[in-house]
């Protein structure tokens, strides 16, 4: 097992080639096959019979359980406090604090944006990680056809691109030419104005991703790749998540109000860069889903 240097051992451990340590204490004698076990055909028939009996009562049990669940939830829900009253227990001092002090403490007048980027910023950090993981797992699932080697995949993608170039969809292209500038402009407006008007990182990011999807669908992935190549995509996504993690990692070390300095207060707090980072991550995620579903790679 010991291959000599620690480097070699580390490489073996990282690559997963190390054999698990043998921990058997003793080896038992396997019992003799008695003739009371069913033969394979009888076993098969018994399995099918059991499956059919299960399938007979599974729908009935599902309906009964669902009806019971809905009845219990309805009985709970009609006893809840009345809808829309101002003195519900949910409207306590936390929401009053957020509404009263969000302008001066976070620099955002939109209470929802100030809340998700500053007061509850770690929730948004976890959600950005979930988006990152989702794109990574969909990439793993949809990489290429089973048994298709690398060059065949490249040739197939080039053939699809050429087909897209030769036979463009005229209606889609003309309406996309009309719509895409407005969509991108609106997306940038919603992203950058998330603090003083409804919007923010998530909304602007999804609209931006929608604009990119429309461009890729109308004009082809090749033309999109001219200004948004795969390397730029990876860089934007990774950089956004790393920036967010780094800034919030600083908060863990210095405490909740630790990052105050002259430059930051003149910039209006940390909300705007974080907003941009979240918006870009969401846009890249949404566009990445479309590209993976349509092509098999980004």
């Amino acid at each position: 097992m010991s291959e000599g240097t620690w480097r070699e051992r580390l490489r073996v451990w990282v690559d997963g080639e190390r054999e698990p340590r043998d921990r058997t204490l003793f080896v038992m004698e396997s019992p003799q096959r008695t003739s009371s076990l069913p033969t394979p055909e009888e076993h098969e028939v018994r399995e099918r019979h059991r499956l059919r009996k299960f399938l007979n009562w599974y729908p009935a049990a599902a309906v009964i359980i669902c009806a019971a669940l809905v009845a219990v939830l309805l009985a709970a829900v009609v006893r809840m406090p009345a809808f829309g009253e101002a003195d519900n227990p949910i409207n306590n001092e936390v929401s009053r604090h957020y509404l009263a002090r969000t302008e001066e403490e976070t620099g955002a007048s939109n209470a929802v944006t100030g809340m998700i980027l500053s007061y509850r910023g770690f929730d948004t950090l976890g959600e950005s990680c979930v988006l990152f993981l989702a794109v990574a797992s969909v990439t793993l699932l949809l990489r290429r056809e089973d048994g298709e080697p690398e060059d065949a995949a490249q040739r197939r993608l080039r053939r699809e691109d050429a087909l897209q170039r030769e036979h463009p969809d005229v209606i889609l292209q003309q309406s996309a030419r009309l719509l895409i500038p407005f969509i991108l402009l609106f997306a940038l407006y919603v992203l950058l104005n998330g603090e003083s008007s409804p919007g923010g990182g998530f909304s602007g990011g999804t609209v931006l991703g929608g604009g990119l999807i429309l461009y890729a669908a109308a004009f082809g992935f090749e033309r999109l790749g001219r200004f948004f190549s795969r390397r730029a995509y990876s860089a934007v996504r990774t950089f956004g998540l790393l920036l967010y993690t780094f800034l919030y990692g600083c908060y863990i070390v210095t405490g909740a109000n630790g990052l105050t300095s002259e430059a930051l207060t003149r910039m209006g707090g940390l909300s705007l860069p974080i907003d941009l980072a979240v918006g870009l991550v969401v846009a890249c995620t949404v566009y990445g889903f479309y590209a993976l579903f349509a092509r098999g790679e980004i």
């Binding site: 609209v207 929608g210 889903f289 579903f293």
Partner: protein
């Protein structure tokens, strides 16, 4: 306003109950997109404009497109899938 809320909530229930009952998967996805549109209008009525923008972009835009691409990849665009 209350009449509009009742109408939208009833529409939500009708869309959700009807969506999985169709034989053709294309119709299921379209009815689900209509469900998402009604939900986006409800968010706007509940005075949450962030949710309205996000639901309109995500539900009809992104989620609908992903469903249609899946339908194309499993060859179920015309009628039920033929296996």
């Amino acid at each position: 306003m209350i009449a509009l809320e009742y109408f939208l909530l009833a529409g939500l229930l009708v869309c959700a109950a009807a969506a999985p009952l169709f034989r053709r998967l294309l119709v299921t996805v379209i009815v689900y997109t209509a469900f998402s549109l009604l939900l986006a209008i409800l968010w706007a009525l509940l005075q949450s404009p962030d949710l309205a923008i996000t639901e309109a972009a995500v539900g009809a835009g992104v989620s609908g497109i992903l469903y249609f691409l899946t339908l194309r990849n499993i060859h179920a665009m015309k009628g039920t899938h033929d296996v």
